[in-house]
Symmetry: C2
Subunit: 149 residues, 2 copies
DNA sequence: AACGATTAAATCGTACACGATATATTATAG
DNA sequence: CTATAATATATCGTGTACGATTTAATCGTT
């Protein structure tokens, strides 16, 4: 009688699936710009706060340098950003938006918005989901401490 | 005034973060068994339906053969599963649980359950979230058609 | 001033994840 | 009965993602 062990009853899998769906949808929308989904997330973070340090960026995105460094290298090669070592502290590296990322902001965000608009997610649904996810994230963070000990 | 473009207001990012959290938590719990999170999902699917074909497994997990084939190869090497070519149709390959996967089922699921239990997710929260996610998945699936055209 | 501890990035090795292509087998049309 | 289409899986190339280690710079204490 372990019916609750079914894949389609697992919250973790529902999140996993949805995340994968988002990733695929966004990838399709971003493809014309030669951007991947994680790269778009980096742009979102930088549009919000340009010149941020690599570490702060990693905290925002929950990504370590093992993921971030090569990702930023590719974005630099693509002409989206520029990495610059800090003068005051030579350990730190700041990430700056290049002209391309600023100029194409409107086009990119509009393409994403119009794709999301076709979903017709109601404001109530959106707000509720965000709140449920926030609470879940708190609980998962606490659980991680438990397991670590 | 594009405050809604902030990372922490994006539903896609909230899902992305939560998925990452689940993955990290489960990875920690599964590490003693030498299992990764996606490998655990494969076991869930097989405990539910042993001997399933690779394609059906991919549909359950929303994974293509580009991901599944190497994943299953690693699980075979780890002694969890066995791949067997179908007699009637030599194109098809069925995936069977090995003794190890059957014997360790109780231990694995109990370890996962006890980690999740520390989250103290209420039944109401669980049911609501699953329902919201189901609806969101439908909408994302429809949006993907739109974009594709 | 000097040296161990801390911090910030980069690097490394492994494992997904995806779309595109290749390969092999079965089904089907003529 | 054969040429072709369809199907199932494998392979390939690229891009995350993660933990662990390495490298380099700064800080703290003596």
């Amino acid at each position: 009688m372990d019916d609750f062990l079914t894949l389609d009853k697992q919250l973790c899998f529902a999140i996993y699936e949805t995340s994968s769906q988002f990733s695929k949808l966004y990838s399709k929308v971003l493809e014309p710009f030669d951007l991947t989904y994680p790269q778009y997330l980096v742009l979102l973070a930088l549009w919000e706060q340009d010149g941020i340090g690599v570490m702060a960026l990693g905290e925002k995105l929950r990504l370590g340098t093992g993921t971030l460094t090569p990702l930023l290298t590719r974005m630099e090669k693509g002409g989206w950003i520029r990495k610059e070592r800090s003068r005051e502290d030579e350990r730190k590296v700041h990430v700056y938006l290049e002209r391309k990322a600023i100029e194409q902001k409107a086009g990119i965000t509009q393409a994403v918005q119009s794709a999301i608009a076709t979903c017709r997610i109601s404001m109530e649904e959106y707000v509720q989901l965000m709140e449920y996810l926030r609470r879940l994230q708190e609980k998962l963070a606490r659980a991680k401490q438990h397991v670590g000990s």
